[in-house]
Amino acid sequence: MKEQTVFEKYNARTHVIGRVCSAVTLVLLLGAPFAIGGVLGAMPDLGAVGRAFLSVGLVWTVSSVVEFLVYTPMLGAGGGYLAFITGNLINMKIPCAVNARDIVGAKTGTPENEIISTLSIATSSLVTILVLALGVLLLAPLQPVLQSPVLRPAFDNVVPALFGAMAYRYYRKNMTIAVTPLVLMSVLFILVPSLSGSTSFMVIPSGGIAIAIAYLLYKKRRKEAAI
């Protein structure tokens, strides 16, 4: 009971801190182009921003709404605020939080999951900030190494390497769930190759199919357990 109260207090405070910090970060990020413009002696062309937003921004707005709806349940409250502030969700934060949750065996919707997710996203964000800061500091000596023709393919394929590793970890215990979305997505991308530019959008139908299959399995198992 006491633990429950402690966690509820923590959660309530997380929302306050998360909201305030997200709002402050938002103001800073929107203010930065004006501040830099001040340094450069030129302000943003708001008309051009409006026109460009209508032509390219709406797609990303829809993507952001979908990301919020889909990934917040995976990240929890604290992890959610931090992940949307620090970005790189699909290629890092989501797999990182899911991996941490899996390693320590935390269950979705529990206080443990909330804590582990927040620890994971915070650690991941700090590592990225640190690596980028060091990288920027050592840009001159690092640039030729990282961009060398030999190493270039390695860094161009970070995401396939990540998802290949994660695939084994998740497919092996859930083959029944994995087969259908994997086959359907492969066929779809084969028949419509131009979709490869919209892979982050294709996560939605793929995830929907996987969840539907998982639900059918869940119902079946419950029915069998009841008998």
Binding site: N99, A122, T128, I177
Partner: protein, 250 residues
């Protein structure tokens, strides 16, 4: 003074560095609060430390990949702005696309320092911020209500049940979409059913998958459970090494 010199000047570094420092402090605050709350509700220190260690090793290689994004954009936008964008809020796959689209909207034929003007930069920078800010905006207004509703839906946070299975399934869907795109890229990327597309991502994913199988075997069958925290990073190194090998051999 050339535009790149202006974009790499000390005041621009100060503006961007200051925001990054603010977010770093924020991460530390969230981390310390979560750790303390974990202890207060009786969570095991070792498990929390394991989550931190695995997340740190997990993030190392993707972060180096993100650094390459900074380097790629620094040629046209200077170093501080891409550094800020990819440290905070941005996403590797997003920044280059939006910066390019924004450049076209402000009348540049392509994103390059040669065509960049101070006003063009400020406009591109603002558009990059506006386009991707919605996740944060939604978090401010709806995170509390949404997570509370989800908590109520999962039987008062009891865990287990379908909620856990649904999250695993969603993640499987995410991985399947990306692997499907690698299959499609190879089979039809160079013409419908031509099998002439780029097969490197598929080979990399396959190598990383096999490496993970090795790590799981060692961890589960040979009693080397400590390997678990490093298995993703290790598998990624193997996958990335496969990309280098493919590049050298073919």
């Amino acid at each position: 003074m050339g535009i790149l010199k202006q974009l790499n000047s000390a005041p621009v570094y100060l503006i961007c560095g200051g925001i990054i420092a603010f977010v770093a402090v924020l991460c530390v605050v969230f981390m310390v609060r979560a750790y303390r709350a974990g202890l207060a509700i009786g969570m095991d220190r070792t498990r929390m430390k394991r989550a931190i260690t695995s997340s740190a090793t997990f993030s190392l290689l993707p972060s180096v990949g993100i650094l390459l994004g900074v380097i790629a954009l620094s040629g046209s936008l200077g170093t501080p702005w891409p550094w800020l964008r990819l440290s905070v809020i941005g996403a590797l796959h997003y920044e280059t696309q939006v910066a390019q689209a924004a450049a076209e909207q402000v009348g540049m034929s392509t994103l390059s320092a040669a065509e960049m003007t101070p006003s063009g930069f400020a406009t591109i920078a603002l558009l990059m911020s506006v386009c991707i800010m919605w996740g944060m905006v939604l978090s401010v207004f709806f995170n509390k209500r949404y997570t509370r509703k989800l908590g109520a839906g999962s039987g008062n946070g009891g865990g287990g049940g379908f909620g856990d299975m649904a999250m695993t399934a969603m993640f499987i869907g995410l991985v399947s979409a990306y692997i499907g795109s690698y299959v499609g890229g190879f089979v039809s990327g160079g013409g419908m059913f031509a099998f002439a597309g780029d097969w490197t991502p598929l080979a990399v994913a396959g190598a990383a998958c096999l490496a993970m199988a090795g790590f799981v075997y060692l961890s589960e069958k040979k009693g080397m459970a400590w390997l678990d925290s490093f298995s993703i990073a290790g598998s990624m190194i193997v996958g990335m090494a496969a990309a280098v090998a493919v590049g050298l051999v073919f």
